[in-house]
């Protein structure tokens, strides 16, 4: 049957990124053995007067939807007509092309100088308008507005909230293995566009994590010559040193309410997991074991931590109830399972799994105890899940260089983010940055 044939369709989409990257390309691999992506036409938006230099929003929307793997945008060169308002839409033009969904729109400069965008989404087969919306913003926010359009279209068609307006944090290491090595904490759109440096250091930075309100980040920095945990305000760049005890200060993770941090300290001689009340800085020790205990992450209810420990001889994933201290082992398959992250459903984790000496990202259904390998490259690590639970970003290697890649949570869709220089690692996908639409 066709599901056994791995038919990969590469959709090449030009990415028009910020000023620093003129253009780059992403190859999106979609395993079509399961189901076909929905054919959608996003007609180039009509641009009103005085909008020179404003980014092409329809191209950004096409690129967003293509990256989800659930949509196959039709190229503008194949379109039979280029409508920009409802009375110009002739559904037969789109049925002929086999298009299921149609998006049209136009951008104009308002009297106050702001940019306004009207767009319409149609169901071609039923000849029905599914939604329309008018968005308004600054001239330089065309990219943000385009991602909002993508979010709305994605949610209308799939029923799942779109995550195209989110961002990623990651670490860029330049000159690794040389004396001039330096490390940058970077923030970018989730498609890799508009990268911005939040911290530039000669010493390593790792374990970068967003706060649940996306206003702050915590990370481990070696700038004091040893690992220490810092808190940084994203908007202002203001930084606070949180812990600087002798030994390890590492693996920080915000509680779901943002009030506490789980972290690893070895101040008592051995790596142990603690929680810290961020208001009082009071520490509570969670683990008491001579093994390595590290990489904590919180369950959604804030009552338990999932963490890595080699107490059984090899690294495996465990879960500890914070009130009772009761600890149970979560992973059993394989001799290296580490750095888990929970899906929004609370029932699945993704983590680093070693098989035959190769490190993959795996998904475990904790209720049914079923594991699935999601990535087949080597040295795959640091998975971080999109806030809508559909995709995850992770670090991997391409020709000896660290890069970031994205895979859908069912393993069917994969793509790599382009990176201009250096080793890119430690990605963390932001929470939703806007309130839900509607």
């Amino acid at each position: 049957m066709s599901y056994r044939l791995f038919l990969f369709v590469a959709i090449i989409v030009a990415l028009i990124a910020g000023a620093s990257v003129a253009s780059a390309q992403i190859a999106i691999e979609i395993d079509r053995g399961y189901d076909n992506p929905k054919k959608i036409a996003i007609v180039p938006f009509a641009m009103g007067a005085n909008l020179q230099g404003v980014e092409d929003m329809s191209a950004i929307v096409s690129f967003d939807l293509a990256r989800s793997g659930q949509f196959a945008p039709v190229g503008a060169e194949n379109m039979l007509s280029l409508p920009s308002q409802p009375n110009e839409v002739f559904f037969r033009d789109w049925r002929i092309l086999g298009v299921e969904y149609l998006v049209i729109g136009r951008a104009e400069q308002d009297f106050d100088g702001k940019l306004s965008v009207n767009y319409y989404l149609y169901d071609v087969l039923n000849e029905r308008q599914l939604t329309s919306e008018r968005l308004k913003g600054d001239r330089n926010s065309a990219r943000d507005m385009a991602h909002m359009v993508s979010d709305a279209i994605y949610e209308k068609i799939t029923g799942i909230r779109g995550a195209f307006s989110t961002k990623i944090l990651y670490v860029l290491a330049a000159g690794l293995g040389t004396p001039g090595v330096h490390f940058k904490l970077e923030m970018a759109d989730v498609d890799g566009a508009r990268p911005r440096t939040l911290l530039d250091s000669k010493e390593p930075i790792l374990s970068v994590t967003w706060s649940p309100d996306a206003k702050r980040a915590v990370y481990v920095s070696f700038e004091k010559g040893k690992p220490a945990i810092f808190l940084q305000e994203i908007a202002t760049g203001g930084r606070t040193l949180l812990t600087d005890f002798p030994g390890l200060n590492s693996a920080p993770a915000f509680s779901p309410d943002g009030r506490r941090l789980a972290l690893v300290l070895s101040r008592d001689g051995n790596p142990e997991i603690y929680t810290m009340d961020l208001a009082t800085r009071a520490l509570v020790r969670v683990t008491r074991h001579h093994a390595i205990d590290t990489e904590p992450t919180w369950t959604a209810d804030g009552r338990s931590l999932i963490f890595t420990s080699d107490r059984g001889g090899k690294p495996q994933i465990y879960k500890v109830d914070l009130a009772s201290g009761l600890t149970e082992r979560v992973t059993f398959e394989g001799d290296y399972n580490a750095r888990a992250r929970l899906l929004p459903d609370g029932k699945h984790i993704v983590f680093v799994h070693r098989r035959n000496g190769v490190f993959h990202i795996a998904l475990l259904d904790m209720e049914r105890d079923r594991m699935m390998i999601l990535t087949e490259t080597s040295l795959d690590e640091s998975p971080s899940i999109a806030p809508n639970g559909t995709m995850l970003i992770y670090a991997t290697q391409d020709r000896g260089r660290g890069i970031l890649a994205v895979v859908s949570i069912d393993g069917r869709v994969k793509y790599r983010l382009p990176s201009s220089a250096g080793d890119v690692r430690e990605p963390d996908w932001s929470p939703f940055l806007r309130p839900p639409a509607g």
Binding site: L176, G177, T178, P204, L206, S207, V220, F222, G225, K226, P227, G247, L248, S250, A251, V264, S266, P271, A291, I292, T294, E295, T308, D310, G313, K314, P315, Y336, A338, R339, V352, R354, F359, L379, E381, S382, Q397, G400, R425, E426
Partner: protein
Amino acid sequence: MQYAWSRNALAIVLAGLVLAGCSSTGKKEPAPEPLPAEDAAAGTIPSPAPESDISRQVDAAGNPMNPNTGQPLGRVFYFDYDKAVLRPESFALLELHGAFLRSNPDRRVMIEGHCDERGTREYNLALGERRADAIRTLLVSSGVRRSQIDSVSYGEERPVDAGHGEAAWAKNRRGELVYR
């Protein structure tokens, strides 16, 4: 002198036992053999010179010299994959560092623990600390004061060889002594 060396040999045996006990796997490790270390240390010293003399020679950078060879004393100690157990060949060399630090109580050393790139970064940070601890335990057992020793784990963040593959990995799984 005789007393000092036998005390050290005992320390090495104890350190070996402690380290073997700390092995993170339940598997049987090749037990660090204290005897070759003792032989190497005791057998190759040409004359019963006072320890303070032979253990005070430094190179231009202030790093200790190997009294047996007249060359700078090796300061890098390699580890097996996912292990924090000192290899047998490290014991004799670390004992010479111990002798140097005992004779130079004003000198301090930073032990850096490092890992190869395989495995997760945070787990490797903890593993690098284990490697630094293994070296610290041996130095302390050999009579070095704790106040002379600092340690830090860099995990996999500071490879000496940025390549990929066993040759690079073997060089990166290490503990380094940095004298101050």
